[in-house]
Subunit: 360 residues, 2 copies
Amino acid sequence: MRETVNLRRLSEVLGLSQTTVSRALNGFPEVNERTRARVVEAARRLNYRPSASAASLATGKACAIGHVVPLAEHMMINPHFSDFLAGAGEVYAQFGYEMLLRVVAQAEEADVYRDFASRSRVDGVVVHGPLTNDPRIPLLKSLGLPFVVHGRCDDGAGDYSWLDVNNRRAFCRATGFLADLGHRRIALINGLEAMNFASRRRQGYESVLVERGLDQDPSLIFSEDMVEPYGYRVARQMFSSPRPPTAILVSSVLPAMGVVRALAEFGIRPGADVSIIAFDDCLSFLQMASEGKARDVPFLTAMRSSIREAGRRVAEMLLEQIAAPDGGRRHELWEAELVIGETTAPRPVEQTPLPAAAKS
Amino acid sequence: MRETVNLRRLSEVLGLSQTTVSRALNGFPEVNERTRARVVEAARRLNYRPSASAASLATGKACAIGHVVPLAEHMMINPHFSDFLAGAGEVYAQFGYEMLLRVVAQAEEADVYRDFASRSRVDGVVVHGPLTNDPRIPLLKSLGLPFVVHGRCDDGAGDYSWLDVNNRRAFCRATGFLADLGHRRIALINGLEAMNFASRRRQGYESVLVERGLDQDPSLIFSEDMVEPYGYRVARQMFSSPRPPTAILVSSVLPAMGVVRALAEFGIRPGADVSIIAFDDCLSFLQMASEGKARDVPFLTAMRSSIREAGRRVAEMLLEQIAAPDGGRRHELWEAELVIGETTAPRPVEQTPLPAAAKS
DNA sequence: AAATATTCCCAAAGCGCTTTGAGGAGGAGA
DNA sequence: TCTCCTCCTCAAAGCGCTTTGGGAATATTT
């Protein structure tokens, strides 16, 4: 109910012009420090704050960053996504930027960008879940809308800013580690391979299979949305088959939980009977990978990289780019940690009690 | 890079006044249909869309709804929250509203509302996770900012709009159901009881304990943030104690997953040895409660109510309220379904093999 | 034919801010 | 005393839209 006081009213109260008041509040040097103090104090007292839309209109800056939340089919703002947003949001809030979310069907994403651009709704956007050769990149370029990609679209990506995890390397290392432990049948429960990051993960995994001469069995490779029941289902499937794997790589903790649940039903012990390594994005609400039985020994062995931290950094990069549009493009490739937990162990000498052909 | 075309330019191209063009596009009746068609076509061709800030400034409407994401300590935009947002976001997008998120420390939430109001950033806000006698309600009223509460702050809540699940009733029914199955030691793994919904859940649970004369043991009641490791930890704790419960109520699927993980380690079978009922918000990325071994039989027995659907409805209510500020306040109390899955069964005749005192 | 409605369109006045281009006051130097 | 700076302040012009209050055609009624 409180009257909303505007610049004119404030300047009247102070007996100053709007110009002076505006300059005083915006820290311009040509205003007397005593005047400025008076102005600031009055503004505080009257609870004056400049209208967002008036300021945007005058400056041409929206002071807002757009994020498009893909509403795939009957789906899902997934937790990876929201943790990223949490990180980015912290940075925006800190720098006085607004974060604005659009939840739309995937097909409408391009329209949203066009809308953002032509209505000057935002000063920049973050591109999530890039596909290989993602059409969004040329679109955004043609719209002249600053953007940073979380992930990459291709290898020669020099002409746009991105931040990515070295997914290929992470999966190389994890696969190699399992091979070192004697595992030869290693399953991959991957994300959707249309996503660039998922195809890199697969490349990492397969390169090691080839290099070390491990089993290459298509029935051990899966590619779907990374949700819990997915892990559950494919784990049940594999361990109902004649030749189950002795180790599993999982693209996210979510399906990893499903895997653990399935194994429990079969009486198979993670770590002891089957090794599991998951990619852990440090999702804040399930630190499965960081809390184990014994203090400081995580349950899951994991490739770890905080997606929230990535959100923070991407936001910073974007804000920098908006401040200095000609400052060149930035690229950051983060290495994931490989953290040993309780779910990895040398391959059991005796096979799991299933009708599997003994081999080597 | 494309030139951003504004109203003036569009009207010049058309040889019409800005007024006419504006009216044509905004569907005013006093404009000739043929003229309107010409205008619309030209607008489409030139990719004209009204500047958001200019429109807001002129109309006084921000066409945006604010959500504050509490950044509790080292925490978390939790999945319950983000699923709610997904639902709300769908509705906003549909009605041309922007969803704008502020990620800030809990202590700053009031400042954010003040900022929203005095800068006319938003036309309304959604209040999340209301406490009993939440200070945000009087604040928002005094700011004159329309709002809808997801949940309730007290029982005599007539003077603000809210949508809530009948948490008390849901937990009454679940507890009663377990009692019917013969369980007498029932644990409650609850959310933070500062939250109004959690205290209602506890009330429901306790009222049935009293009514049916079941064990009232404080060591079976827990109240924390609803994350996975929480469930894991307290389940381990209970089943390491001399007198574990034979049934468990869990406030969310997240800690329920932790419980299942802990039980697996103890070799205790959910359903067979211990009954579990969780509150299932239908989180879209883990439909544990809806996908079981046999098709159509869910794994978890659950009280179920879609938080995403709640998000949709709350958004609708808020938009209605903004459109008709004097239309009175709305209240909706939803009943949760009680859906039987595989994790509930009659109390085992023989006690779990732990040194427990036998008792009728 | 004149008077009244109706239809379609327009010029101009905001909305609340930032920013440009000056201008008045006061002190320093000639 | 007059001029020239520096310091501080201001009036006014946008930013791009909506909306008010007509006004010029055209159509309808008397």
